[in-house]
């Protein structure tokens, strides 16, 4: 078989070195009743590359890919154009097939990338330090809540109604273990965010306030008053960014006082991939660095005095601290971090700002156009590249019907918040640089027909 290089002759020679008759003899420690004598029944045997590629290709073609349709989905995952050189570079065998850089002498490639990535992320989020990545935005968000608990020694977290409902679900799942009290309710169809309500809810038990920016409805607001209110009460502000491209156009949460900023980095370099692997971004103020979860790469020198990089502060980590670790995270999203870092390097500040400006410009055009469709109201005053439309009927049905016509119209609030029927007519629409004027017209026409 193509991936197994041993020949039967090799196997015989090796068995004789070992002093065993057969390979089965090497499995003597397995209780006899658990040893399978042949291949597992009901499963096919090996297949040629051609056959496997055909099978998988047939399954792939049963999906409507984003590039094949007018496409307006966001809500935590965004379709952006990724330059071809990004994928080319992450496929270099030396990146793709390397392990976690535990042996720094022969892992400077990965390590320097991580150091550069940490710096890029810190600058983007407006914080002092960032780690070498987490699984995704939702788990990074939960890690931030746990970190705030460790720092403040308080157990109540206020979650904004504008926080992605799946992020809320993940936090709720984890809080069952830890006993954190999480305060949250579904959003209302209001042009303003719930920042004032959050400020009013902060009390002396509050470990942190968790706010998404832009929020799940695409709304944006200055986080400074919230940060001040939290700090005044001894709580932390955790900001969550699910669309990092936004930070090429709007203020960084760290610059508005957020103590911990987490995010989903998928937009830059990673691609949609049906939800994973994605890339958790995690940054914070310098003073909290030793409470941070996840891998960190730091600068040092080698025995010859040359600059080099190593994984560091690992006394926070599971493989050293075992049950006293700041997190159980081991594998992270190294290759996605590489993709993010390469894409960000290609963009640079100039490209990032142009990309953000283009996204915003197209989104404004689309919002204004769609708001003219009878039966459609634009909820947002402010937004970056995503906004909420209020329709005259349940948006879930509209989305499904439009999909049947080959238009991927956005994300319905009914799917995101099945328990909040009051907002079921809301449709969250994202507009990136991949949307064309024709796409916008197609969506407008389809909505008009659907709502007629």
């Amino acid at each position: 078989m193509r991936y197994l290089p041993l020949t039967d002759t090799d196997r015989q020679e090796m068995l004789s070195v070992i002093g065993a008759e057969t390979i089965d003899d090497l499995f003597i420690d397995v209780p006899a009743e658990a040893r399978l004598s042949g291949t597992i029944a009901g499963l096919p045997d090996h297949a040629s590359e051609l056959a496997v590629e055909r099978h998988m290709g047939a399954l792939a073609r049963k999906n409507l890919s984003a590039g094949e349709a007018p496409f307006f989905l966001g809500a935590g995952a965004y379709k952006h154009h990724v330059p071809a050189s990004v994928d080319h570079l992450i496929q270099r065998g030396e990146f793709l097939t390397a392990y976690t850089p535990y042996q720094p002498e022969i892992a400077q490639g990965t390590l320097q990338v991580l150091f550069e990535f940490q710096t890029q992320v810190a600058r983007l989020l407006g914080v002092d330090v960032a780690n070498a990545s987490m699984y995704d935005g939702s788990t990074a968000c939960w890690e931030a809540i746990g970190m705030a608990r460790r720092i403040t020694k308080r157990g109540k977290a206020l979650l904004s109604s504008g926080l992605h409902p799946h992020y809320v679900s993940v936090a709720n799942t984890m809080a069952k273990f830890t006993g954190d009290a999480l305060v949250h309710q579904a959003p209302t169809l209001d042009a303003a965010t719930d920042i004032d309500a959050l400020i009013a809810s902060i009390d002396k038990d509050t470990s942190c306030v968790v706010v998404q920016y832009p929020d799940i409805l695409g709304r944006i607001a200055d986080l400074t008053p919230l940060a001040e209110a939290a700090h005044a009460a001894g709580a932390l502000l955790v900001a969550v960014v699910t669309e990092p491209v936004a930070l090429g156009a709007i203020k960084a949460p760290g610059h508005m006082g957020a103590d911990i900023v987490v995010g989903e980095g998928q937009s830059i370099g990673v691609g949609l991939q049906f939800g994973g692997p994605y890339l958790g971004l995690f940054g914070c103020k310098q003073k909290y660095v030793r409470q941070m979860p996840g891998r960190l790469c730091g600068e040092t020198v080698d025995a010859a005095g040359k600059r080099g990089f190593v994984l560091t502060l690992s006394t926070r980590e599971q493989h050293i601290r075992r049950e006293k670790a700041t997190s159980n995270i081991c594998t992270n999203s190294g290759l996605c971090a590489l993709a993010f870092s390469i894409h960000m390097t290609l963009l640079g500040e100039k490209g990032l700002r142009e990309l953000a400006t283009l996204n915003h410009g197209l989104a404004v055009q689309a919002a204004d156009r769609l708001a003219k469709v009878p039966g459609v109201t634009l909820l947002n005053d402010g937004f970056f590249n995503e906004f909420t439309l209020v329709l005259t009927k349940d948006a879930r049905e509209v989305v499904r019907n439009l999909a049947d016509k080959g238009v991927l119209a956005g994300v319905s609030l009914g799917r995101l918040f099945p328990d909040a029927p009051a907002i079921g007519n809301g449709l969250v629409v994202a507009v990136t640089e991949t949307v064309t004027p024709e796409d916008i017209e197609t969506l407008a026409a389809a909505l008009e027909e659907e709502l007629a």
Binding site: I106, Q108, T300, V301
Partner: protein, 491 residues
């Protein structure tokens, strides 16, 4: 040549990406426009390609040679997997697309799930965990939910000494009290000590099998039976499933939950530290508590069961672990790998992995101490200790010496139960010629370390860097780049 940092070679005026001109519109950003310089350097495409190409060449990788990291299972990553994962129908679909438009993707999840359940002899599988450690979390969440469902709060998790560090970390992260179980002199869980500790406060035992000494836990079924009898559950760390896939089904050994590292047994690339993927197979007892979302086949349609669609038929779910549906990009690769091997090939995977490890064990046990070597064969990894090295010579010296021989070092100082442990996992994708070359190199290093060759203590000499000062890095952490202080530089 040294490669500078992007911050030292790029500029905020340079870009490697062009965009169409933005429409002229009135901004909706209000007062929030970002006006400060972000300080993000850009490079042209050529400079970018060069920077990362050059950096990549400072890495070791499986594509360059044998990577004998014990317990990490660095096997060949077939390129077909990469090609399949990039098919637009998989790579370019949004997690919240209407289900009618992602039937192929749901089919992939369902098909992979069926393979994992059948290969492990378990009842169901939770596909969404993002990595092995995340899978451990999933298993403990299911166990906790099951205990709560019967009104039986328990607070202790038992973990053998030889467990992966993630096991106690995960248990603690979930708020459990962690207690160690000692090992026997032959490197296995002390069954009697375990039985003695079982009681109404014990929620679960977390056990790695094959264990981190590279040995199969002979008493696994007995342990499971005892644990079940005490009302607790058995969590199995499946990091070493590579050793037994197709030959042993954990379900036959009484396991209740086990994560499977798709990046170990099923060849998805490690990528310099992830992404991984850690589906968790579950016993019938734990199945009702599996997380959302999951995929079901209803008639000829695949249905994604999530909050909106769960209704009554999975009311005991412990909830959602991640924003979306798990590591789709890893599922496509793993399924491609599984279909390529088939039932016969996967069985051969375990056979050859174990054969290769035993070949290394027996080819070196005359020059290196093999603490459990006398007791019989190992599974997929060979364990040696530093016993017999000359005064002042350590496992670290041998590891760094391997770098100069053109190999990645083995896992060092793990498992903790062996002094100066060297854990060597060759995997099944190594040829006999590659093994022989590695054996020759390790033999020569062992001889040098026993003879007290001082030069070895300076290794590596032929790598992009000499030994790095990790203490300095931790004492004065420099975690981001900042412009050199010109005033200081001028002094």
């Amino acid at each position: 040549l040294e490669e500078k940092l992007i911050f030292e070679i790029g500029s905020t005026d340079t870009t490697g990406v062009d965009f169409a001109e933005a429409p002229k519109v009135a901004s909706r950003l209000g007062s929030l426009a970002r006006t400060d310089s972000i300080g993000m350097p850009g490079l042209s495409e050529q400079e970018t390609v060069r920077h990362y190409t050059r950096l990549s060449r400072q890495n070791y990788a499986i594509d360059l040679g044998l990577f004998p990291l014990g317990s990490c299972t660095m096997k060949h990553n077939p390129r077909l997997n990469e090609k399949v994962a990039r098919m637009p129908g998989f790579a370019d679909i949004h997690p919240l697309q209407p289900q009618s438009t992602v039937q192929g993707a749901l089919a992939v999840i369902h098909e992979l799930a069926a393979w994992l359940v059948t290969l492990t002899g378990m009842h169901s599988v939770a596909m969404s965990p993002k990595a092995g450690a995340h899978g451990e979390l999933c298993g403990l969440l299911a166990i906790r939910a099951a205990l709560e469902a019967r009104g039986d709060a328990r607070s202790v998790i038992l973990v053998p000494e030889s467990a992966h560090g993630t096991n106690p970390a995960t248990a603690a992260f979930c708020g459990y009290k962690v207690e160690d179980i000692p090992a026997t002199p032959d490197g296995r869980v002390d069954l009697e000590a375990l039985k003695a500790r079982l009681g109404p406060d014990v929620a679960a035992v977390m056990i790695t099998n094959p264990n981190t000494c590279g040995l199969f836990e002979r008493d696994m079924k007995t342990i499971s039976d005892a644990v079940h009898a005490a009302g607790a559950f058995v969590y199995c760390d499946g990091a070493n499933f590579n050793a037994i896939v197709g030959r042993v089904r954990p379900g036959d050994l009484g396991v209740d939950a086990m994560h499977i590292n798709l990046h170990k047994t099923f060849s998805t690339p490690h990528g310099g530290g992830g992404p991984g993927s850690g589906p968790v197979v579950l016993s019938q007892a734990l199945t009702p508590f599996a997380p959302l979302p999951f995929v079901e086949k209803q008639g000829d349609k695949f249905v994604l069961v999530e909050e909106e669609t769960v209704e009554d038929h999975h009311a005991q779910t412990f909830g959602r672990m991640v924003a979306f549906h798990g590591q789709m990009g890893m599922f496509t690769r793993a399924l491609t790998y599984i279909l390529s091997h088939g039932a016969d090939g996967l069985r051969q995977v375990a056979s050859d992995a174990v054969l290769n490890a035993n070949y290394i064990l027996r080819s070196l046990d005359d020059v290196l101490d093999a603490p459990f070597g006398a007791a019989g064969p190992c599974m997929h990894e060979a364990l040696f200790s530093d016993k017999g090295l000359a005064e002042g010579f350590t496992t670290l010296d041998i590891a760094k010496g391997l770098i100069d021989e053109g190999f990645h070092p083995m896992t060092m100082y793990f498992p903790l139960v062996v002094h100066g442990a060297m854990l060597v996992e060759p995997t099944e994708t190594e040829s006999k010629a590659a093994l022989d070359q590695f054996i020759m190199a390790l033999r020569s290093l062992a001889e040098r370390a026993k003879a007290g060759d001082e030069a070895l203590k300076g290794a590596p000499y032929h790598a992009p860097r000499r030994r790095l000062d990790e203490t300095l890095a931790a004492r004065k952490p420099v975690l981001t780049w900042s412009e050199p202080d010109l005033a200081v530089a001028a002094e």
